[in-house]
Symmetry: D2
Subunit: 135 residues, 4 copies
């Protein structure tokens, strides 16, 4: 396992808008799917992390839209862990057309670790170590 | 207050799909908005009901699509309470074009009352009385 | 190929609501995904059908919610073609928990064939034959 | 009319996630609603603009999440036009809790003008003049 993990997903009809392309907010949904699968590949279920009382809340997101994704396209989400601190973690994302390789969007998110009451809290040590090990 | 309450909402771009019309699942979102505003008009906040430990979970939904809603249309959601029992409540919905009155869809939902553990539970008496009073 | 086709999908965080379960409208999104993959398995891309000028618009949907799906669950969507006529097609859906087999929801949709202007139109013969062949 | 316009909207149940707060991608939907209403206040319907063959596609979006919005909160979206060029327009957004004034998020989007074929095209003169007049 490196700090990069890729998944593919098929564009759903529900994700398109009347412009005939994927609605811009939905790329952030894909980033979240990429992030969850990155963590699973690392051996950590995000669902289990939340059940243990820690959530990762997005503090900032930036996305650049390069070319549109369309219904039924197979898109690849490449998620790269770019930083880990005591209470924060950052990821970059590359969204591309799986067959042609054409770049569709790039994104970046910063997440902070919070407890079940919504307060900033330290990332659990085992989880933080697993992240740091692939950086 | 009768057993019927209407609201209007503006169709969002996000709610459309590549067919150029509102995606079919989104009408159920509007029914939920209509339901919440029906309860507010009755003097009961659904958010408060949940904070007190009771949720209304949809057990069944039926929707008939008559004519498409489009981006920027002003649509009217008319919500009608059709039944109240100890642990269930039913609503009908008429979704129409606010300006022309054209019927866009009709829907029906059955909801059951559950506690915070997801178990069937009695609708709180004050809430049930308020519903029954307008039937 | 029979008249039934199954796919699996992983519940996204975006699909949940504050009740901690999948929001009720999102099951209709999954039905659409199941329907599109049913057609692909049959050798017909729904995207291609639309490019050729025919769309299938949902005229009616009914869904019964039996048990909640939760974040990160692997769910199975089993789509069954139940009828084909000159301008209409019907499907049933069973949504179940992929690992336990627990039934989460059942649904039914009726779709009508429309042209690019939104008028009722005959289902293209090759497409209708392919559907009829597995009924 | 200045370069700033505010609207209020009620948080929908559908917009929340299992963390009990509004799902992060949905703030971009609200930005779009704010943008459309800004244009309407300026005397220009975005729907009409699209019918005339020009669309505004988001090229970049940045959002900072400060505090969570919750179900049934009344939120205010304040949209500010920050720049207009021949083929691009930029907006800033402030999302706040309507009653308390608490800042929930800030965002920025850059949009480019495209024709119905998806190619970069000049913003129609009347529309550009209306935008420039309030800057």
């Amino acid at each position: 396992m490196t700090n990069t993990h890729s998944i593919e997903l098929r564009v759903r009809y529900a994700e398109t808008d009347r412009m005939g392309v994927v609605y811009y907010a939905n790329y952030l949904v894909w980033c979240e799917v990429g992030r969850v699968e990155f963590l699973r590949a690392l051996g950590h279920s995000y669902a289990a992390l939340e059940h243990q009382g820690t959530a990762l809340a997005v503090a900032e997101a930036t996305i650049r839209y390069v070319a549109p994704a369309r219904f039924d396209d197979l898109v690849r989400i490449t998620t790269t862990l770019t930083g880990v601190r005591s209470r924060a973690v950052t990821f970059d994302y590359l969204i591309s057309h799986a067959e042609s390789g054409v770049r569709l969007a790039t994104a970046h998110t910063s997440l902070v670790s919070i407890d079940s009451g919504g307060r900033l809290s330290a990332i659990p040590p085992a989880f933080r170590s697993a992240l740091a090990a692939v950086l």
